[in-house]
């Protein structure tokens, strides 16, 4: 893997993101209602004032002109101002990133820590009770409406037993770390839950396939211990397809955070998204969707690069 390859791939992201921006801009502007709808019902805002705002925001220009002006500005880092709060959009977005990263990052690592061992256990104990149990559980996990599970956990832990806070990031006036961790438990568990079932299935089927290979039989025949066969011969090779899925899903965790953050009133990007939607705050919405697709494109690239890092047989030039 060379630097020029990475550079080439980074360049390849530009047309993709341009395509995404065109679709998003088109969809949002063809939908009925516009960014000034919030003022439409307000009797103290006159028609002249509305027209003036339209001109000021450039909303009286033809759509292609609006798109061109927006996209050139956006890619230069000029993300405009929020209609709702009048703050620069970039500041609004950046301010929410740490909360979301804390939530989805913890969920990501928790999901990995649970899913990989479960998959290995299931594969090495294939067709035993343990395997059937894990398989059944993962079917339950894939089919679980996580927002409902979130409600049930809130009901148990916050309402019935009162051991965990039901929502928010901090108790007011208590900025301590234990308090933050207590608030993290439920949303992180819920967000991780959705990924564990899928990932452990992938780990299992990949591991099963590797364990039936000739070189595994050779290793066993040479007298290598079962533990060593599993962890140093099979595990690394089984990881290759899993890494791709995990990297691709890491951006999906970010999307899933929209629902989780809404349920648990977590002050991250997802909440900002819902708040901006309710306020018809188009500049912020466009910026958030673009950040989301940037994360998706980046996760694709990381999946490819990680692939070649783990498996030296794969080379990109």
């Amino acid at each position: 893997m060379s630097l020029s390859y990475i550079f080439k791939r980074l360049l390849g992201m530009v047309p993709l993101l341009l395509g995404v921006s065109l679709i998003l801009f088109g969809v949002l502007h063809l939908a009925p209602g516009g960014p000034l709808d919030v003022y439409a019902d307000n009797p103290s805002v006159t028609q002249e004032a509305l027209d003036q705002m339209k001109r000021a925001f450039g909303l009286d220009q033809p759509l292609p002109v609006q798109y061109f002006r927006w996209v050139t500005a956006f890619f230069q880092g000029e993300w405009g101002y929020s209609i709702r709060t009048s703050q620069p959009v970039m500041e609004e977005v950046l301010a929410r990133i740490p909360a979301t990263l804390m939530l989805s990052g913890s969920a990501f690592f928790l999901a990995l820590l649970v899913a990989l061992p479960l998959g290995i256990l299931s594969a090495t104990r294939r067709y035993t009770g343990v395997d059937y149990f894990i398989t059944l559980m993962s079917f339950l996990g894939i089919s679980m409406p996580v927002f409902w599970l979130a409600l049930m956990l809130q009901l148990l832990f916050a309402v019935q037993w009162r051991v965990l806070p039901s929502a928010g990031m901090q108790t007011i006036g208590d900025g301590s770390l234990p308090d933050l961790l207590r608030h993290l438990v439920l949303p992180v568990f819920i967000l991780a839950f959705a990924s564990v079932a899928g990932w452990s299935r992938y780990m299992r089927s990949s591991m099963v396939e590797i364990l039936s290979q000739d070189y595994i039989r050779t290793a066993r025949a040479k007298g290598v211990s079962a533990r060593r066969v599993t962890y140093s011969h099979a595990f690394r090779n089984a990881l290759i397809p899993v890494v791709t899925v995990v990297a691709l899903d890491s951006a999906a965790i970010l999307s899933g955070a929209v629902i989780t953050e809404t349920i648990f009133a977590w002050p991250g990007l997802g909440r900002l998204f819902i708040d901006s939607m309710n306020g018809r705050d188009y500049p912020v919405l466009m910026a958030l969707l673009m950040v989301g697709s940037f994360a998706l494109v980046l996760s694709n690239l990381i999946a490819d690069l990680a692939y070649s890092l783990i498996d030296p047989r794969i080379r990109y030039d």
Binding site: L16, G19, V20, G33, W148, L155, S293, L296
Partner: protein, 294 residues
């Protein structure tokens, strides 16, 4: 003659032909059969809800308005604050939830099959353009976009189906494309073309039926995804609007009563879980039946 047949149990036991073999393989998958049975029951309950439900879905019992009542002999799943029977509303909720799930998955399959078939059959620049578009759509964070569109448009059931369906076709398109790419090189396709079959005939009468297995499997599995998506949207208050009950908006309502009336939250969610679980078992069984190597 009959004697020789009786003496070879192998030829008697093994069903012949494509469909009997398929059905025999499917029936061996106990959980998949269970899933199918559950789905048929749920479908019948949904269709006949007006006859089965003990009350009307917006009928209120004036004597108990104001406070949700816990489950009792009269109201199996309790009542909500407006004195409406929760069991009736869950039953009616099945109608919308199943309909949105099924029809948006079918719409997605239709679009995906069309894109994939054109792409894989014509190749060249048609393929290049369609696949670049697919790549770009795959780079959009779809859950937020669907949430946003529902939030802006406040969709009717039909529009909701259109939104969900028109943004979930990409997987099917890639799948169908790869099927078409390999099937179009086979002899029977050449034969059909030599006999004067036009593009449409070759594509949809000859190639498509051979790609049907994987398409059916992916449609089935995506019904689970679309039911979940509709529930999530309605749960956020963005999907189907009350008073029409769906499992998602029943949960939205229940979340405000979590402390006082937890039973309202338990049943709709349980129904979603059971339905999606049944769909996933069914899809898994169909996959094994269509592709025994797996």
């Amino acid at each position: 003659m009959t004697d020789t047949l009786k003496r070879s149990p192998a030829s008697r036991k093994r069903p012949e032909g494509f469909w009997p073999t398929l059905i025999a393989r499917f029936l061996k998958h106990k959980l998949a059969v269970l899933g199918l049975v559950v789905l048929i029951i749920l479908g019948l309950l949904a269709i006949f809800a007006p006859f089965l439900a003990p009350y009307t879905f917006d009928g209120q019992d004036a004597s108990i308005i104001g406070q949700p009542q816990p489950p009792s002999a009269k109201h199996w799943m309790g009542t909500d604050q407006l004195g409406r029977d929760a069991f009736t509303r869950v039953l009616y909720g099945a109608r919308i939830s199943l309909m949105v799930g099924l029809f948006s998955a079918l719409l997605a399959t239709f679009l995906g099959t069309l894109v994939g078939a054109l792409s894989g059959y014509y190749r060249g620049w048609t393929d290049a353009v369609l696949m670049r578009v697919t790549d770009v759509v795959l780079c959009i964070p779809l859950l937020p976009l669907i949430i946003l569109l529902s939030g802006i448009l406040r969709p009717s059931v039909t529009l909701l189906i259109a939104i969900v369906g028109s943004l979930s076709w990409m997987g099917t398109a890639r799948l169908v494309r790869s099927q078409f790419l390999s099937l179009r090189e086979r002899e029977f396709v050449e034969a059909s073309r030599a006999l004067g079959g036009g593009d449409n005939r070759v594509m949809f009468r000859h190639i498509l039926p051979n790609a049907l297995g994987p398409i059916i499997v992916s449609t089935t599995l995506s019904v689970g995804g679309t039911i979940m998506l509709e529930s999530a949207l309605s749960f956020l208050g963005l999907g189907v609007q009350p008073p029409t009950p769906t499992w998602g908006n029943l949960l939205n309502y229940a979340s405000q009563w979590l402390t006082g009336a937890p039973w309202l939250a338990i049943f709709p969610g349980l129904m979603i879980l059971i339905t999606v679980l049944a769909v996933n078992f069914l899809g898994d069984g169909l996959r094994d039946a269509f592709d025994p190597r797996n």
